[in-house]
Symmetry: C2
Amino acid sequence: MEFDLIDAIRARVNIARDDVVLGVGDDAALTRLAPGRQLVACADTLVAGVHFPLDTAPEDLGWKSLAVNLSDLAAMGAAAAWALLALTLPRADVRFVESFADGFAALARVHEVALVGGDTTQGSLSITVTALGMVPAGEALTRGGARVGDGVFVTGTLGDAGGALHQLQNHATPASTLLARLNRPEPRLAEGMALRGIANACIDVSDGLLADLGHVCAASSVGAELDAEALPLSPALTAAFDPATCRELALTGGDDYELCFTAPVSRETEIAAKLEPAGCRATRIGRIVAGAGMRVLDAHGNEIEMTRAGWEHFSR
Amino acid sequence: MEFDLIDAIRARVNIARDDVVLGVGDDAALTRLAPGRQLVACADTLVAGVHFPLDTAPEDLGWKSLAVNLSDLAAMGAAAAWALLALTLPRADVRFVESFADGFAALARVHEVALVGGDTTQGSLSITVTALGMVPAGEALTRGGARVGDGVFVTGTLGDAGGALHQLQNHATPASTLLARLNRPEPRLAEGMALRGIANACIDVSDGLLADLGHVCAASSVGAELDAEALPLSPALTAAFDPATCRELALTGGDDYELCFTAPVSRETEIAAKLEPAGCRATRIGRIVAGAGMRVLDAHGNEIEMTRAGWEHFSR
């Protein structure tokens, strides 16, 4: 089945880049790194029934399978460049593949990502994308650089994708803006690049803010305090859920694909200016403290007990 | 389940490389390309029940999932450098993962490949490895350079893995040398690098000689003639099968992971000398001709009709 499907994908995902010496069609792809750049590489898998509902539209899957990987590049402050797609399908369903490729291509075009290779195989539906990008040597953002006294910031709004998933699971119809956050996440590549030289640490929020900020704290050997009142919530989320649920979704909902970063509070104005061209706000939601672990504080500075430690995949 | 498994894998696949700036544990890996090098990238998936029998030992799976990808780098004349592993498992089976990682690490050590990232997810057993390597700019071997008059060469022997699979499917016990060719293929990286500047075209034999040489012919707009009597067969294969079956296995059996390349016949002595340090012979098995398609000739120069066009996965 392999060849027809690859042709269907190639025909639709045809973003050209000057730095691709050889794309799909040989044993491997050949590409050129720009001078002074380091390679940034990641690979994430989406499994049907685990990472997305079985009835997710193939266009959305194509978009999302690339988005979750570009989000990892964004968290490093990298520019996206190339991708490899390993698509496993129960049968050679050309219409599925064409729709999938259309969704993949729609996001690939936004960030000028060339599809340079991959594999199509037969089996249970799952998608592994490898995203490759570049960052100026020494300028990558990592999880390990958070410093005591840093502010904790997050781009955009939190909890929207988790809210949509919550509603789907309860057979409610999510608002279209919430559903779009779940199915068509926007990787924050421009924001990540803008934060180079400013953010001390950065991660993308894929498993939930507490879980992901927890990785930053562990890698940086610090703790964090979050102000529950400061969590940025969309109007669509606050219209759909009570305040306590909104807070829980913002803290533990997965699939937000916003960037959570730490930076000196003194640079807050500069951060806003740098992010403005990307059309994205960052909100300061807390601070890095000595010690370990995370505390969430209410408006009076009292700790709120959390019942969930992070996002649970909807079916396990 | 993700974190325990990743730790189990990291502990076992701990090949260090100076060019890894940041390995497993952040949002993405950071690596450095050597000066004057181009990046070579490929990703292949192995699905349980399609690409390997369900009772394949996890050590062999770990080896093979890396080997099939390193073989693609070999076919480009590249040096292997880094890998990402996306492992999907029905359940968090630490013993399986440890054995898998041991097999992966055994091959990674041979070729000094650092595991720099990936993902572990829950689902039907399948493995996608992304292999990343480097080649001096402009020196990669490709499928498209075969010229009329070139000799067609192949490294090692053909049909051994196909023979082992054939026996397993018929509930026979393959000789250990044949079984090793199926479960522990040796990617021909040193050979591919030695062929830079000599071979005009190159591919690895994964789907069967006729199928893969067919890709070279199509990409190069040429045809090929193969001499059936020249096909290199191992003593273990000729001991296990009659001559006609040996020939069919050599022409259409998959999973050989030898290199098939074309080069001027005048350079045959040089080829032998270049490959000798790798401990590997190349055999001239035919020639590139004008036109399209492939013909297999007997000792009298008469065409042999083939009934199969390539390797069929053992279960579809």
